[in-house]
C-alpha cells in the first residue's frame, strides 16, 4: 500500500513533465515560444476569416422556415437544375478535353510548344475581360458570332442570351473555354512524370497507340484524374464569374447558379441575405462528402499532383 503511494508520488510530477514535453514536441526553451508565435498569424486569419464567417453563415441559415421558403421558389428549383447541368457538362467536358489535349501537347517539336503558349492564354487573361468579351460576342444583333454566321454562311444566328438553354450553354462554353488550359497543364505535368521506361517496356510487350493509352497512361493518371474531377466539381459549385458576366443570370433569372442566385438575386436584389445563405447552404449535402473524400485523397497522396 505504502509502496504504491510512494510510486504514485514519484510518478505524478514525471507524468506532468512528459505531458508538458509532449505538448512542446521536443522543442526546447524559447524555441517553443517562437514556434507558437510563427503559427499565430495563420491561426488568427483562419479563425477570423474562415471560422467566424462560416459560423455566422450557419447561424443565419439555421431557421428551418427559410428552407420552406427556398424550396417553394421556382427560380431556386431552376437554379438547382442549372447547377446539375453545369456540373455534369462543365466538369466532364473540361477534364476530358484536358486529358486528350495533354496527350496532344506531349508531341515533340517547336510547334506544339508555341501552340501551348498561346493555348494557356484564356487562363492567363483575367476572367472578367474575357467573359465580358464573350457576352458581347453573343449579342444577337451586333455580336461577332452572329456577324460571322451572317457574313460567311448568310444565316441569321439566334439571339444567344435570350433563351434559357442557349444562355446556359453559352455560360458552360465560356467556363470550359476559360478553364480547360489550366487542367490541361496539370494533366500534362502528370503525363510528363510517367517514366519513359514504362512506355519502353510496354512497347516491347506490344502495347502501342490506343492500347498504350488504355493500359499504361490512363491507369497511371487515374488517381490524378479523380482528384482533379473532385476539385473541379467543388470549384465549379462555387463558380460566380462565368454566369454573372456571360448571362447575368438572365433571361428572367433562369440561368443562375447557386452562388449568383444567393449573392445577386437574394442579397442584392431582394435584400434577403438569409435566403441567399440558405440557397448556398443547400449545396452542403453535396459539398461536405466531396470535401471529406478530397481531403483524404489529398492528404494520403501527399499532394502528389
Amino acid at each position: 500500500m505504502a509502496s504504491v503511494s510512494v510510486a504514485d508520488l514519484g510518478r505524478a510530477p514525471a507524468r506532468r513533465q512528459t505531458l508538458w514535453r509532449y505538448w512542446r514536441g521536443g522543442l526546447q526553451g524559447s524555441e517553443f515560444t517562437w514556434a507558437v508565435a510563427f503559427v499565430i498569424p495563420y491561426i488568427a486569419v483562419f479563425f477570423a476569416f474562415v471560422i467566424y464567417p462560416a459560423g455566422y453563415g450557419l447561424w443565419m441559415g439555421s431557421d428551418p422556415a427559410l428552407y420552406a421558403e427556398v424550396f417553394s421558389d421556382p427560380i431556386y428549383l431552376n437554379t438547382v437544375v442549372n447547377t446539375a447541368i453545369f456540373l455534369a457538362f462543365g466538369v466532364n467536358v473540361k477534364l476530358f478535353l484536358a486529358l486528350l489535349l495533354s496527350g496532344f501537347f506531349m508531341r515533340p517539336g517547336w510547334w506544339t510548344k508555341t501552340l501551348l503558349l498561346i493555348f494557356v492564354l484564356p487562363w492567363a487573361v483575367p476572367a472578367l475581360p474575357t467573359f465580358i468579351s464573350i457576352h458581347w460576342m453573343l449579342n444577337g444583333e451586333w455580336g461577332l458570332v452572329n456577324n460571322f454566321l451572317y457574313i460567311v454562311f448568310g444565316i441569321d444566328g439566334p439571339s444567344w442570351l435570350n433563351s434559357r438553354w442557349l444562355a446556359l450553354g453559352s455560360a458552360i462554353f465560356s467556363h470550359v473555354w476559360k478553364w480547360t488550359p489550366f487542367w490541361t497543364v496539370i494533366l500534362l505535368a502528370g503525363r510528363m512524370s510517367i517514366p519513359q521506361e514504362i512506355y519502353d517496356a510496354a512497347k516491347v510487350d506490344g502495347a502501342t497507340g490506343l492500347k498504350r493509352f488504355l493500359y499504361v497512361t490512363f491507369p497511371l493518371l487515374a488517381n490524378l484524374y479523380l482528384v482533379l474531377t473532385l476539385l473541379a466539381t467543388i470549384f465549379l459549385l462555387g463558380d460566380f464569374n462565368s454566369v454573372y458576366f456571360v448571362t447575368g443570370g438572365g433571361p428572367a433569372n433562369s440561368t443562375h447558379l447557386l452562388a449568383t442566385l444567393g449573392v445577386v438575386r437574394d442579397m442584392l436584389e431582394l435584400g434577403k441575405p438569409q435566403l441567399g445563405v440558405a440557397a448556398v447552404m443547400s449545396a452542403l449535402p453535396l459539398l461536405i462528402p466531396l470535401v471529406i473524400i478530397l481531403m483524404r485523397k489529398l492528404r494520403t497522396a501527399e499532394v502528389q499532383l
Binding site: 503559427v39 495563420y42 477570423a48 464567417p53 465580358i132 470549384f235 452562388a259
Partner: protein
C-alpha cells in the same frame, strides 16, 4: 520515263520486303498524324483566340462603329485606348486611381501571403510544432471551400464593422483564400532543404528567427517566386469580393469598375474593351514572365482555380 516506272514498280511490289512495307506504312501513318495534328492545332487556335480577338476588335472601333456588322473595323483607331489612358470619359474619371487601388491590393495580398505562409510552414514543417497537422488540415479545408460560399456572411460582417469600402477587408479575404496554397507549396518545397542545416545553425547558437530569416527564406526563393506570382494574379483577377466590398468610386478597383461598366445601360463598348485590355496586360505579362516557376509550383502542390 514511263517504261522505267512501269518496270520498277512490279519489282518493288514483288520484292515487298517486310521492312520496306513497314517503312511505307509508318510514313503514311506519320503523314496522317501530322495532318491530324495540324487540324487540331487550327481548331485550338481559333477556339482560343476568338474571344480575345473580339476584345481587341471592339477596342479598335470608334464610338458609333460598335453597332454594325463586320469582322474587323474599317477605320481601326486606337482612340479608345487614348481615352482610357487620359480618363477622357465620365465613366473613366478615376481610372488611374482605381488602377492604383488594384496595384495596392495585389501588392499587399502578395506580401501578406508570403509572410504568413512562410512563417506557418517554417513552424509546422521545420520546427515540427506539436499538432502541426491540425494547421495543415485547416489550410486544406480552407483550400477546398469555394470562396463564394462565404461571400454573404463575410459581406454582412464587414458591413457590421463598418469596413465596406476599406481595401483591408478585401485584402483579408484574399489572404485567407491564398495562404493555404502557399502553405502546401512551401511545405512541399521545404522538404528538399536538409534539416541538418537548421540543426547546425542551432548548434552555432542561431535563434529560430535567425534560422528563418537567414537560412530558410533565402533557400526558399524559387517557391517564394511561384507563390508570389500566384497570389498576385489571384488578387488582381478576383472579382466577387471586390465587387461586394468596394463600391464607391474612390475605393473601387479596375475589376469593379469594369463590372459596373457592363451593368450600365449605355455602356460605351469600345472604351470598356480598351479598359479590359489595359487591365489584362499586367497579369498576362506577369504570368508569362514567371510561367516556368509557376508550373513547377503547380506540379509540386495543389491547384486552385
Amino acid at each position: 520515263m514511263t517504261t522505267i516506272t512501269a518496270d520498277t514498280r512490279p519489282v518493288a511490289a514483288a520484292s515487298a520486303r517486310p521492312a520496306e512495307r513497314m517503312r511505307r506504312v509508318a510514313r503514311r501513318w506519320r503523314y496522317l498524324s501530322n495532318a491530324g495534328a495540324a487540324l487540331v492545332s487550327f481548331v485550338l487556335l481559333v477556339w482560343t483566340i476568338a474571344p480575345l480577338y473580339n476584345m481587341v476588335m471592339v477596342a479598335f472601333e470608334t464610338e458609333g462603329d460598335v453597332f454594325s456588322d463586320h469582322l474587323w473595323p474599317s477605320p481601326a483607331s486606337p482612340e479608345s485606348f487614348w481615352v482610357v489612358l487620359t480618363e477622357g470619359h465620365w465613366y473613366l474619371e478615376a481610372f488611374w486611381h482605381q488602377f492604383g487601388n488594384s496595384v495596392f491590393l495585389a501588392a499587399m495580398v502578395t506580401l501578406l501571403v508570403l509572410v504568413i505562409g512562410t512563417l506557418t510552414s517554417f513552424s509546422v514543417g521545420r520546427m515540427r510544432i506539436r499538432n502541426g497537422w491540425l494547421i495543415t488540415n485547416a489550410a486544406l479545408l480552407t483550400y477546398v471551400i469555394p470562396a463564394s460560399f462565404l461571400a454573404i456572411p463575410f459581406y454582412l460582417i464587414m458591413n457590421r464593422y463598418g469596413l465596406q469600402n476599406n481595401p483591408w477587408s478585401v485584402i483579408a479575404v484574399l489572404v485567407t483564400f491564398a495562404t493555404p496554397y502557399a502553405i502546401f507549396i512551401f511545405q512541399e518545397y521545404g522538404r528538399s532543404i536538409p534539416l541538418e542545416l537548421d540543426e547546425s545553425a542551432r548548434i552555432d547558437g542561431a535563434s529560430p528567427f535567425q534560422i528563418y530569416y537567414k537560412i530558410y527564406l533565402p533557400l526558399m526563393a524559387p517557391a517564394l517566386v511561384a507563390v508570389g506570382t500566384y497570389a498576385l494574379l489571384l488578387a488582381w483577377n478576383e472579382y466577387l469580393y471586390q465587387f461586394l466590398l468596394l463600391s464607391n468610386d474612390r475605393s473601387m478597383t479596375v475589376a469593379v469598375a469594369l463590372g459596373k461598366f457592363l451593368n450600365s445601360d449605355v455602356a460605351p463598348w469600345n472604351y470598356m474593351m480598351a479598359t479590359a485590355i489595359i487591365y489584362a496586360i499586367p497579369p498576362i505579362a506577369t504570368y508569362y514572365m514567371f510561367r516556368r516557376r509557376m508550373s513547377s509550383g503547380l506540379t509540386m502542390g495543389g491547384v486552385k482555380g
